[in-house]
């Protein structure tokens, strides 16, 4: 049962990664006992499971994901929200309105208008239905302040880091509140614009160098340097 690539080696679609008794993980498929990659990415082995960490990809909704979306349209029963995915999602009015929703009386556009940004959770999605969103949880709902940046959705796990080490470090160093949408939109909310700028710089650095090791240390170093520089300039 040979494997043909080292761990973290780059593969392209159609590359034969392993043969025999392996389980096809993310971004791979198995045919006639042979395991191939479906994306350009880096190989990961986890016991018998072989997966590829994609370098390029788009967001595919998953139940339980927290996402940041833009309200695109208002319908009778709710809002159509763009979450940067192949499918438009629906946020039902009955999920937002207190008491029971009365289409004749309740004005949906006064709650979320077209163009508003919302933080929401995906509560249901499958092959036959578009994603359904919910804002019925603390921390979800309309975004009123902060800065939004868009990054590649495939890099989100790297920004979180192992057990959240990376993201908590950035939060600590910059004092910003950061919310990562699984769909690649990130809300940065700091006390000053300078803090925001610092946090965004760190996130951009991680996005660019996501596949290199020892990144947490380098980002910490960069943030410390930048902060010192700011003190000197002031």
């Amino acid at each position: 049962m040979p494997t043909f690539f080292e761990k973290r080696q780059i593969v392209i679609p159609g590359d034969l990664i392993a043969e025999g008794n392996y389980v096809a993980g993310e971004n791979t498929f198995k045919e006639n006992g042979k395991l191939y990659s479906t994306h350009i990415g880096l190989v990961e082995y986890e016991e018998r499971k072989v997966s590829v960490v994609a370098l390029k990809g788009f967001y595919v909704p998953r139940v339980g994901d927290t996402v940041i979306g833009i309200v695109k349209n208002i319908t009778m029963g709710g809002w159509i929200v763009d979450v940067n995915a192949p499918y438009l999602s629906l946020l039902r009015a009955s999920d937002v309105v207190e008491r029971s929703y009365r289409p004749q009386k309740d004005d949906l556009s006064s709650i979320f208008g077209v163009g508003d940004l919302v933080i929401a959770k995906i509560v249901s999605f499958d092959r036959t239905r578009d994603p359904l969103l919910s804002v019925r949880e603390p921390g979800l709902g309309k975004i009123s302040r902060g800065q939004i940046i868009e990054i590649a959705p495939t890099k989100i796990p790297r920004i979180i880091g192992r057990k959240g080490s990376m993201i908590s470090m950035i939060k600590r160093e910059t004092g910003c509140h950061i919310l990562l949408g699984q769909n690649g939109l990130v809300l940065v909310n700091g006390k000053t614009l300078k803090d925001n700028r610092l946090a965004i710089m760190a996130i951009r650095k991680i996005e660019k160098e996501s596949h290199t090791s020892g990144l947490t240390d380098r980002v910490t170093e960069m943030l410390k340097k930048e902060k010192e520089g700011e003190v000197e300039n002031a």
Partner: protein
């Protein structure tokens, strides 16, 4: 132009552009050349210059075209008005429409369309300069554009033609060889899965000649695949800054 222009193969066995019978045109591929599209690639193969890009997967417009079980691949092969000697009308010709379908059918087997039901992938192949074998080069470059945009693929698709010119079997026909030669066989191929996804023939060949021509085209595909593979990796290896 030299006087011997009516001869496609000279007495030394070299072709009109100086290639050997089994030699491909020099090929240069670049991946990820456009920032607005979801994925893109550019190829120069001899005098061919082709740009491919796609958007998607996203909701289908008009909605009734959506397929309940898989994504819809929309493909547009288009020749720019300045791509050929005499101005071509920019409106899609019969040939453009046919090639759009042919390219779509050659690429469909390589894509996991069933992963994204009710969506569409809009693929555009723009011929900036044509010099024979644009459908093949178009397939090769379109496959790279899809890979660049993170569409899940079973394999890259690579295409190459072979044919018969003045009684000799040759690979990767150029414009003149295609027009004045006896036969042309374009072929698209998934190298790792060893599957042919497009096989056409124009002209006349005996059965044994046909078999040889197919082998020749497959050999061409395999050579082209190496370039295709390297160009896709190159984008990331350089960008890694290691």
């Amino acid at each position: 132009m030299p006087k011997s222009e009516d001869k496609l193969i000279d007495k030394n066995g070299l072709r009109i552009d100086g290639r050997k019978l089994d030699e491909l045109r020099s090929t240069k591929i670049e991946v990820g050349v456009l920032s607005n599209a979801d994925g893109s690639a550019y190829i120069e193969q001899g005098k061919n210059k082709i740009l491919a890009a796609f958007y998607g997967p996203h909701e289908v417009h008009p909605k009734h075209l959506a397929l309940p079980d898989r994504s819809l691949l929309k493909c547009r092969y288009h020749m720019a008005p300045f791509s050929v000697d005499e101005r071509k009308s920019p409106a899609p010709s019969r040939r453009d429409i046919e090639l759009s379908m042919v390219i779509r059918q050659a690429l469909e087997p390589s894509i996991f369309l069933e992963y994204y039901p009710r969506t569409s992938i809009d693929l555009f192949i723009e011929i900036l300069q044509a010099h024979g074998g644009t459908r093949c080069a178009g397939i090769t470059v379109a496959s790279l554009a899809l890979a660049d945009g993170g569409i899940p693929l079973r394999d890259l698709t690579v295409a190459c033609a072979a044919g018969k010119v003045e009684g000799k079997l040759v690979v990767d026909l150029s414009d003149d060889e295609d027009k004045k030669g006896e036969a042309d066989v374009p072929l698209a191929f998934m190298p790792n899965l060893n599957a042919i996804t497009l096989l056409q023939m124009d002209g006349q060949l005996t059965v044994t000649e046909f078999e040889k021509v197919v082998d020749l085209a497959l050999e061409g595909c395999k050579q082209l695949y190496k370039i295709q593979k390297e160009s896709l990796k190159a984008k990331y290896v350089v960008g890694e800054g290691e």
